[in-house]
Every structure is written in C-alpha cells, then in structure tokens.
Amino acid sequence: MKIRVDPELCSGHAVCNAQAPELFSLDDDGYSNIGSLEVPPGMEELARRGMLACPERAITIEE
C-alpha cells in the first residue's frame, strides 16, 4: 500500500498527523512533508484513517 499527499491541496490541518503521527509526518510549518510513502506492513488501517480525516481530500491511497 502506498499513500500520497498532494502538496498543492495540503493546507496544514494536520489531522492526518493527529490520527497517525508515526506515518504522517509534518514540516516545521505543520504541513505534510511525506509526498508519497510505502505504508509499512500492519499500518494500513492507520493510513486509511489519516486519509479519511483530511478535510482537503489531499490524501490518496494506492492498494
């Protein structure tokens, strides 16, 4: 599973980080800095929660 955060859409709500800080890291301004990331095994549910929490719909998941 791969997650991708669209930097054009991310507006720094940081709710992905609140759901799963170990997966969704932030830069010094509080915006997502992951770009795209391979989800480590066992963390798929956390990745989904982060995606669903984003009000900007900036996060996509590729299974």
């Binding site: 709500h13 301004d29 669903l52």
Partner: protein
C-alpha cells in the same frame, strides 16, 4: 448537453431578527432549497450552503478571491456587508491570495504549527487555572465573562505581546463588532474604536527599543522576500490574530458548555472518560462552527451548481450549512461524540485555513477539561443565557450565568 442556468432568489438576510431567531433552521432550509441562491440584500450576493460548494469556493482562490477587488455591490471584505473601509489596513494574510499570501502565511504557520502550539500548553493551563481560581470559591459566575472569554484572550494576546491591561477591552471590541448587527450602536461604537490598532502600533514601537519573548518581537527578527518585516506588516498580521484569537474558541467552548447543560448523559460520559474529549472536540466543532459564514468575491464569471455567478458578484459561503449537509455527514442532526470521519469545515478549507486551529483545539480541551473536573455540576441559568443578537457571522454567546458547588483554588495565590 446544455445546462439551464438558474438564479434562485431567496429572501435571506443573515443579520435580520428572523434569521437570528433560529440560524440553524435558516441555514438548513437554504441548503435544502438551493443550495446556491441569490439574495437582494446588501446590494446583492450569492449564498453557498452545501458541503461541495464550500470545497469549490474556498479552495479556488483564482475565482473566489479574498482580496479587496471591485465588486458589483460596491462592497468587499470577508463578511457581508463588508465592514473594512479603504482606510482600514488590509488584513494579512487573510485578505491576500496566493502566491503573495504565502510568505506572510509562512511566518505565522511557523509559530502556530502543531508542535509550536503544544509549546503553549503551560500558558493555556496557567490562564485556565487562574480564571477558574478567581470564581471557584464563589459557586457562581458567568462562564463566558469569567472563563471562555478571558482564557483565549489572555493566552493569544499575551503570546502576541499585547499589554495585559488592554486585553479585556480588546476582547470586548471584538465581541461587539462580531456579535451585534451592523446598524446597532454597539457595533458602530466598536467599529469606531481604533484602540486595538493603536495599541499594536505602540507595542511595535516599544519592542523595537526593547524586544521581549513575544510574537511581535520575533516578527521583527524575520524577513519577507529578503526584507526585514516592518511595523505596518506586523500590525496587519496581528490584527488578524487578535480577531481570530479572541472570539472563536470562546464561542466554541461556550456552545459546548450549553450543549452539556442540556445533555447530562454526554456530560457524565466526558467526566468519566476524559480521553473522549479529543474526538468530541471535532464533533463540537462540526455542530457549533464559531465562524458560520465567510465572504468572497467572484473574480470572473463562473457556473456553480447550475447558477451563473458574474465577475464582481459577492459570495457568502456558509460553513454552518456545510457541516450539516447529509451528503457529507451521516445523520448530521445527531451529535455523535466519536464521529469518524469528521471532515467538518469549521476551520475553513484551502490556503486560508484557520492558522490557529491547533492552538484552538488545545485551549478548548483545557477549558473543557478543567470545567468538567472542577465544576462538574455546573448549572446554567437557562432563563438568563443569551446568544449574540447577530449570529450571521459568529455563532457566539452574550451571557452564560451559572452556579456550581464551590471548590478550591489550584494555582499560585493571587
């Protein structure tokens, strides 16, 4: 396929007594009947009252600008009617669109990120403890005037570098500007009072001579596009932080306290399980968005929900109506304490997302946590509580008298 363009006319005035008698029903019926409609009030404006419409209008600054452009109603600004006059300084970065918005926004982001906001937790705890200590022995207070009003005001303005002895006066000016109708004496008097701006200019002059550990002093060490930040820019940034800081978390926390006066089962749940407060924060935000509407101006013709918006048209975007949109939220009328996902738009969307959202959540949780722990049996006098007379923009409260079993002070002696 050609689309038939619509212009549903609605008799909608968010500052009218009819609206303010029941804003919830007014926003709901607007969304159900339109969801995009045209009102002839205030020189004419569109209202966007659904969730998807919020996404379109708030994320597309190329069409829906926050800047003070010429409009068809002669009006501009982030509310309708717009209260900013040409003499008023432009609010930074609120009234600037990307890309110029970004260097200004980046400065404030750096100081209000989730990590930086958590650094302010001791100050939040201090002000909450201090304000509750002042009334805890008495057994009665006004939860608005004694706690939910002053805690955010002292926390934010102290961090900013605003003098302590002017904090309450500044908060009252913001309450009167945001909570009273534009034709009322209270509103006019508050609008004519330039104390906040004068105080910010004076604070800048003082910090140039003698820097302190506050935001104004820090901004003086920063650069925008390679140039040092000047006093006027600091005042323009600070005005937004004063406005955003003093009336919004206050309104949210006050609404939550009223909610828990009426839902004792939920109050007990939150007392028994303080961990529930975190997810509950999002549901309180959805159900009681402090800023219920915000205005934009169309920069060019645009078709939204089958309606032709013309270049220069004013547009009022209702976050409140979006948060109750059944297309975005299951059972939107129900308060579901751990609702997930909960993609409410109470902090806005797009580049102008509320910069203080992280500290707002922390202040809300600290105030609610301490009130539920120290005044668990608080009882609002439902006959005497009152909302803002004007809830077209801010969904706020004017009085929250309460009684509770007296307790003991927890902070350092006064």
């Amino acid at each position: 396929v050609s689309e038939t363009l619509r212009q549903p006319i609605v008799d909608f005035d968010h500052h009218s007594p009819e609206f303010n008698a029941d804003p919830h029903t007014a926003w709901q019926s607007l969304r159900e009947t339109c969801p995009v409609g045209w009102s002839e009030h205030y020189g004419g404006f569109w209202i966007v009252a659904d969730y998807e419409g919020n996404h379109v209008a708030l994320k597309n600054h190329a069409v829906f600008t926050s800047e003070r452009v010429d409009s068809n109603s002669g009006d501009h600004g982030l509310n309708i009617p717009g209260y900013a006059t040409d003499e008023d300084l432009i609010a930074y970065p609120e009234e600037i669109d990307p890309p110029d918005h970004w260097p200004l926004r980046k400065l404030i982001n750096a100081r209000l990120s989730p990590a930086e906001s958590r650094e302010m937790q001791p100050a939040i705890e201090h002000w909450t403890t201090t304000c509750i200590d002042a009334v805890i022995g008495v057994g009665e207070c006004d939860l608005l005037y004694d706690i939910t009003g002053p805690v955010p005001a002292y926390t934010i303005l102290d961090w900013l570098g605003f003098p302590h002895d002017r904090v309450i006066e500044a908060a009252e000016i913001m309450h009167d500007t945001l909570g009273y109708p534009p034709e009322s004496d209270r509103y006019k008097k508050a609008r004519a009072n330039d104390m906040i701006q004068q105080t910010l200019w004076a604070a800048c002059a003082a910090r140039r001579k003698e820097p302190r550990h506050d935001l104004i002093s820090w901004l003086m060490t920063q650069e925008i596009n390679g140039k040092p930040v000047d006093d006027q820019t600091i005042v323009q940034l600070a005005i937004v932080l004063v406005g955003g800081g003093v009336d919004t978390t206050t309104s949210l926390t006050s609404s939550a306290l009223v909610h828990l006066n009426r839902d004792r089962e939920l109050r007990q749940q939150l007392i028994d399980n303080p961990g529930l407060l975190e997810p509950a924060t999002e549901e309180f935000l959805r159900v009681y968005p402090p800023l219920s509407s915000i205005a934009r101006t169309a920069r060019r013709d645009y078709v939204l929900r089958g309606c032709r918006l013309h270049s220069g048209d004013r547009v009022l975007v209702s976050r409140y109506a979006a948060n109750y949109d059944p297309d975005a939220f299951e059972r939107p009328e129900e308060f579901i304490v751990d609702r997930f996902p909960n993609r409410h738009v109470s902090f806005g969307l797009g580049p102008h997302r509320c910069v203080g959202s992280h500290i707002a959540r922390l202040m809300f949780q600290e105030m609610m946590g301490q009130i539920l722990r120290r005044m668990p049996d608080y009882e609002l006098d439902e006959e005497s509580i009152s909302t803002y007379p004007d809830r077209g923009m801010v969904n706020g409260w004017a009085a929250l008298p309460a009684r509770f079993t007296p307790g003991t002070r927890e902070g350092a002696p006064a």
